[in-house]
């Protein structure tokens, strides 16, 4: 009898399984976990349905309950409201992201991922990108409902598409904030609770009412926060002219300002989230 095997015996489960030569790179890593988030979203119809119904409900309430009492100036309230509403719906969706991330922490799913030989930054980036994709889908539905209740764009189609793109970019930035909240909170309920702390910002902004209708002391707060910058940019693009939105300054000014806010959010919360995720 001759011994033909010189290599150390494979310590694998069965001869069919051998270790891979090198672990997945950052792209494969991000793609694999992104695919999981998208599958989870698509196969959990109640998530899709509840999100849609919630969005539609609030949009209808603002349009028909509060709308009559609010006079934004040159355009009908619905044209004023829908851009602002789409911007704030990014925050509504973020609550779901925070809860989902917290759930992954709670149920050991992140521990499994973190014990794998792949970049932890790429794991989180995949998650954030997928959540942004899911968010874009939600924004498209919200916008469609907006059109159904009488919203119309006053500028060009290209500008409207740019407005939508801007919302997605902003959504990506805000998702990092909510991923961080989910990681810090540690369980889904706490994550939802912490996310709600962001909501006063949606009201103290130009999203639903013109800022100059607020008391004087509140106006500087409302003027200088990211939701207002985003809303003003999206609204200027949708209406084709900032003056129709009751704004001074050019459309370009508001777009640049909103991109700066988005970049700022990413620069602060992406490193915070990755550091928290890496922490051992």
């Amino acid at each position: 009898m001759t011994v033909t095997t010189l290599d150390p015996p494979a310590t694998a489960l069965s001869p069919a399984i051998a270790p891979a030569p090198t672990p997945a790179g950052p792209l494969t890593t991000a793609w694999s976990v992104a695919l999981r988030t998208v599958r989870k979203f698509r196969r959990t119809p109640q998530l899709v349905l509840i999100g849609t119904i919630q969005g539609a409900m609030f949009l209808l309430i603002f349009r028909y309950v509060f709308g009559g009492a609010i006079n934004p100036g040159p355009v009908p309230y619905v044209d004023f409201l829908v851009p602002g509403f789409v911007v704030t719906s990014v925050l509504f969706a973020g609550t779901g992201t925070a809860a989902g991330v917290a759930e992954d922490v709670e149920h050991g799913f992140f521990d499994r991922l973190r014990s794998l030989p792949v970049s932890r930054g790429a794991l989180l980036a995949g998650r954030t990108l997928a959540d942004t994709g899911v968010l874009a889908w939600g924004l498209a539905i919200t916008t469609a409902i907006g059109f159904a209740i009488g919203f119309s764009i006053h500028g060009s189609v290209a500008m409207a598409l740019a407005a939508f793109g801007l919302c997605v970019v902003y959504g990506f930035a805000v998702t990092w904030l909510f991923v961080w909240i989910g990681l810090v909170a540690g369980n889904a309920q706490a994550a939802q609770g912490m996310s709600l702390l962001v909501f006063p910002l949606t009201f103290v902004s130009s999203a639903y009412v013109p800022v100059d209708s607020m008391p004087g002391w509140m106006q500087p707060i409302a003027e200088n926060q990211p939701i207002t910058a985003m809303t003003n940019a999206v609204r200027s693009l949708a209406l084709g002219d900032p003056s129709l939105a009751g704004l001074s300054g050019t459309t370009a000014h508001w777009v640049v300002l909103s991109l700066l806010w988005s970049a700022g959010l990413v620069l602060v919360f992406a490193p915070l989230a990755v550091a928290r995720y890496r922490r051992s």
């Binding site: 694998a12 069919a16 270790p19 090198t22 799913f109 030989p117 051992s280």
Partner: protein, 335 residues
């Protein structure tokens, strides 16, 4: 000689006031199943998470297959597989998709991922359920799939943190069988458990830890000898007789008999084997009580734990090893 698969020296980790690891020393060689046994809060989970590079120890050294965990965590992650206390699988994906995702992350290309996934599903008896969403799986199937997810990367060392906690007896035995098959194929396994029979069933080396340090180690047989005594176990017919049975056995034992009214049992440690059981039978005969069963046996690990720690394993703090201020208070109260 090859480096030990796990080599820990003086490992410490503190979460706030809780000292989860208090100078833990452990050397495990390849080719064995090592069971880390201890009550909740003993530091088992922290130890496994440290090996899995999820927790960074405050002090001490830890090597996995010769690799320094603190210096090269990414190299350690390439050779370990982790299955935790929860079934960390995605409910909205099928079993096949779950394993495929992890296989891809381990670096397998599409074809190798598919082959590994099929092999693991087959190995764990999940082939028939492979394309069903995990949300339709039973608890036992989820655990097996979770075990599978830690296997698709063909790890050299498999870390199982309380793999059967919360499972029904049948699922538990299925999982034990799966673990035994892995071991037969040469995968090294380090598992934690609070179930003494689990350690007895699976492990060739048992390490008992309490309050973050090792208090005893050896083969299950050695640990039982360490307790040093045989046990006479009498099952009385009537609960009222327990006291009398205890009194009759007391002169034979090396320690006072333990009475357990719930099971109508009296146990007493003895030295002298067969001779003592004759004495016991005679004493009980003289007393005239009805006895359902009498046996001379080796002590269980439960009894070993009692001898080694002075406290029965059930009486230990019920808190897990995650940092938690409440746990600190309980630990302080117990100390």
């Amino acid at each position: 000689m090859a480096a030990p698969i796990v080599e820990a020296h003086g490992l410490t980790k503190r979460f706030g006031k809780v000292e989860a690891l208090a100078g833990l020393d452990l050397v495990a060689h390849s080719g064995q199943v090592v069971a880390v046994l201890g009550p909740n809060g003993a530091g088992k989970t922290t130890f496994v998470r440290t090996i899995a590079t999820l927790v960074r120890p405050d002090g001490g050294s830890l090597r996995v297959d010769g690799i320094d965990v603190a210096r090269h965590p990414e190299r350690v992650r390439r050779i370990i597989g982790l299955a935790g206390q929860y079934a960390a699988v995605e409910e909205a994906m099928s079993g096949r998709e779950n394993l495929g995702m992890v296989a891809r992350l381990f670096g397998h290309d599409r074809r190798a991922s598919r082959a590994n996934t099929d092999a693991v599903l087959e190995q764990l008896g999940l082939t028939d359920a492979a394309d069903r969403l995990v949300r339709t799986y039973s608890g036992g199937m989820r655990r097996r799939l979770d075990l599978g997810a830690s296997l698709v990367g063909a790890p050299r060392l498999l870390l199982l943190d309380e793999p059967t906690t919360g499972l029904d007896p049948r699922s538990r035995m299925d999982l034990w069988d799966a673990i035994r098959r892995l071991v037969a194929h040469g995968t090294d396994v380090l598992l934690t458990t609070q179930y003494l029979d689990e350690a007895d069933q699976l492990a060739s080396q048992v390490v008992i830890i309490d309050h973050g340090r090792v208090i005893a180690e050896g083969t299950p047989g050695e640990l039982k000898s360490r307790a040093g005594r045989d046990v006479i176990d009498v099952h009385a017919h009537r609960a009222d007789d327990l006291g009398a049975v205890g009194d009759a056995l007391a002169p034979i034992g090396t320690a006072p008999p333990r009475l357990d009214p719930a099971t109508r049992r009296v146990t007493v440690p003895v030295v002298g084997g067969r001779r003592t059981i004759n004495d016991a039978v005679r004493a009980l005969d003289l007393l005239g009580v009805e006895v359902d069963d009498i046996a001379l046996r080796r002590p269980t690990l439960d009894e070993v734990f009692l001898v080694l720690t002075g406290a029965p394993i059930e009486a230990a703090s019920d808190d897990s090893d995650v940092p938690d201020p409440h746990a600190a208070a309980v630990a302080a109260g117990a100390a």
